[in-house]
Amino acid sequence: MKKAIALVAVLLLSAAFVFAGGQEEAVEEVGKVKLTMLAYKDLADPVEAANWQIVVDTFFATHPNIEIDIEYGFDEPFHNKLQAMFVADQLPDIMFLWPGKRTGQVTGSGKIKDLRPWLKGHEDEFAAIAVAAQGRGGEIYELPEQVTDCHVMYTNEKLMKELGLTFPKTHADLLAQGAKIRAQNLIPVAMTNKTQWQMQSCLLSALTERAGGMDWYDRVIVGDNASFADPEFVNALSVIDELAKEEMFSPGINQLDYGQALTSFVTEEAVYYIDGGWRANNMVGELTDEQKEYVEYKTYPDIPNQKGTSGSTASVAGTGYGMHSRLEGAEADAAWEWIWFYSGPVGSAIRQGFGANPAYKMPTPGKLDIMVKKLIKFVAETPAGYVIDAVMDAEGMGVLHPAIQEMMMGKKTPQQVAEEYEAWVAANDTSRK
């Protein structure tokens, strides 16, 4: 029996040791508002981390009465955690949210406060798209930190000059350049399409607006006398289909991880490169000073039967922080202090210094990197439609994306893809209900 007692004692001891490690209760301080926050931040990125540190330090220095316990998440694990918290009814006081469908389940649950009463009077200080309705009743659940243009056709003008090319006016012109570019062992259009969002966010969204125009786009979302099986959407898909058939994309585009196409653009193995405007951040660090002079921001050329706006991109209000609906009084005010600080003038100025393009309207300072300056100009001048995966359900993208991949590999026609997607949307998408 002695051994048994020893065994149990060892177990208890280790358990006690373990308990001791995890539970340190913070000492309450009088007059302080304490909040919890789930932040979305890639702390491993040196630029992001430095930027964030300044934002946080400045906030706490100017708001000594507020204490925020911050937890960090990034990418898929962030969403897993948010989801687990949501199901367990353990959402924090402040959390990072998306304006569209990505966190739609959380924002639509009634557990997130409408920020409009606090924002009142400040709407004009933001880009119009940033303060557009996020909920069905016009609610604004999070205050966008920036406006994101998801489609940019980055262009290497030096390579074009060497090849004797000018930027194509139409889709057909672009296809016609393919042979000449490939003859030099170069990639015409560098892009990746392995994971589930790049093709939809960065190219299909813009093409959908081009093919159908905004009036049709508005109607197809809700299913008002328009469907994704219409010739408009088939036309948009056909453009991608032809680009794939004509070998315009990076070889093996459907197996390429996000980021690998950027590498071939930076190393000047590709003439054009399609990605989001946020890539300006990487360009700042990865292009040489000389390259920055001749890399330009363009959009996809005109497509056949174009009904939408020439030269348009696709744009979405950015992410930002929102608060739990349980917060009242001093706690809610404190949470707003943070939200306003982050996306309002002070936080925006800090983030702009690191290459971001804030939703809060502010003058462009002179010392910015040239790639950021070009982006700001691009965003200001370029008309924009919706980003398809921000307005349609994520689960539907799980139907659309593999179908597009099969189309690109020659196993499906654009018509089939369009019909398959429409069938899913008609039966399931929350925008149609």
């Binding site: 989801q83 589930q196 093996g252 197996q255 690998q260 994520a394 689960e395 590999m409």
Partner: protein
């Protein structure tokens, strides 16, 4: 204390802690998940009872069926690839048929020490369109657009993954077999050699019969591990392109954590358990035969 009650108390002390911890952690989630599989639930409000609807949806979904086909391929590679190969390697090292067995043993086991995510990153650097193999082939074939076409074939896209799985986990079986081979008393083998037995006879008559049990054990690991395989494939291909490398665990993960269909996701995990049980039952029948054969 009487002998009988002493035995009972000892049994409780020995097995009790493991059972308690295990039950404490496992029971609630399992019951939760099992009951959810008969409902439709997105994490909000109360789950809606839908009977067997989720199961019907799963079994009629072509994506699931392709995932099932792929996972059976993984099971096949594990049972007919990793286990025999692992055994052969273990045998070679155990019988000292080569010099430097200990070095090779370390090398073969090494992949297991690396997390699946790291392995995926490393292999993608080799076989992806941006990898070293592709770069080499582009040079040799003088074709700048060369890519490994096998990844874009619905039929064969799994092959490179199966190859990596074989490379990665064979070492695990090898180590388990070596541990069990050590248990065979050397004197038995020496006696066989003195009797003039050949290497083949030693293997067939002395070693294999005492290994049947552990080979069955590892076959169970192979089945359960294969049906759950997630990390490596998710990090390598994410199930793509176009679901070609889809496996059931990824299917379950995506439906639960990306689309928030908890009922559906739970039903998929129940299907995984049922499939595993079925396969293990099958293996058990086969091994009973073997055992009888050796007993006879």
């Amino acid at each position: 204390m009487t002998e009988k009650s002493l035995k009972r108390v000892s049994y409780t002390v020995l097995t009790g802690p493991a059972i308690l911890i295990y039950a404490f952690i496992i029971i609630f989630p399992i019951v939760f998940s099992l009951s959810l599989s008969f409902t439709e639930w997105s994490g909000l409000d109360t789950p809606k009872l839908v009977g067997l609807e989720q199961y019907v949806r799963i079994l009629t979904d072509p994506v699931f069926l392709h995932g099932l086909r792929n996972i059976l391929l993984v099971v096949a590679v594990s049972i007919f690839g990793q286990i025999p190969l692992g055994f052969v390697l273990a045998y070679i090292i155990y019988r000292r048929l080569i010099v430097g067995g200990r070095f090779f043993e370390t090398m073969i086991f090494l992949p297991i020490t690396i997390s699946a995510v790291v392995v995926a990153i490393l292999w993608n650097q080799i076989f992806s369109p941006a990898g070293i193999y592709t770069a080499l082939m582009r040079m040799i074939r003088d074709d700048p657009r060369y890519v490994l076409g096998i990844f874009e074939s619905k039929t064969f896209a799994m092959v490179p993954i199966l190859f990596i799985i074989l490379w990665m986990y064979t070492g695990m079986y090898m180590v388990i077999y070596i541990a069990n081979l050590q248990r065979i008393s050397p004197s038995v083998i020496e006696a066989a050699i003195i009797d003039g037995a050949t290497e083949g006879q030693i293997l067939g008559r002395v070693i294999l019969p005492s290994m049947v049990n552990i080979i069955f054990t590892t076959a169970v690991f192979a089945i359960s591990g294969s049906l759950k395989s997630f990390d490596l494939i998710y990090a390598m291909t994410g199930g793509g392109p176009a679901h070609y490398t889809e496996v059931i665990a990824i299917y379950m993960y995506v439906n639960t954590f990306k689309y928030y269909n908890y009922g559906f996701g739970s039903a998929v995990s129940v299907v995984i358990v049922i499939l595993s049980l079925g396969l293990i039952g099958l293996i058990q029948i086969i091994f009973r035969r073997f055992e009888r054969m050796y007993e006879a």
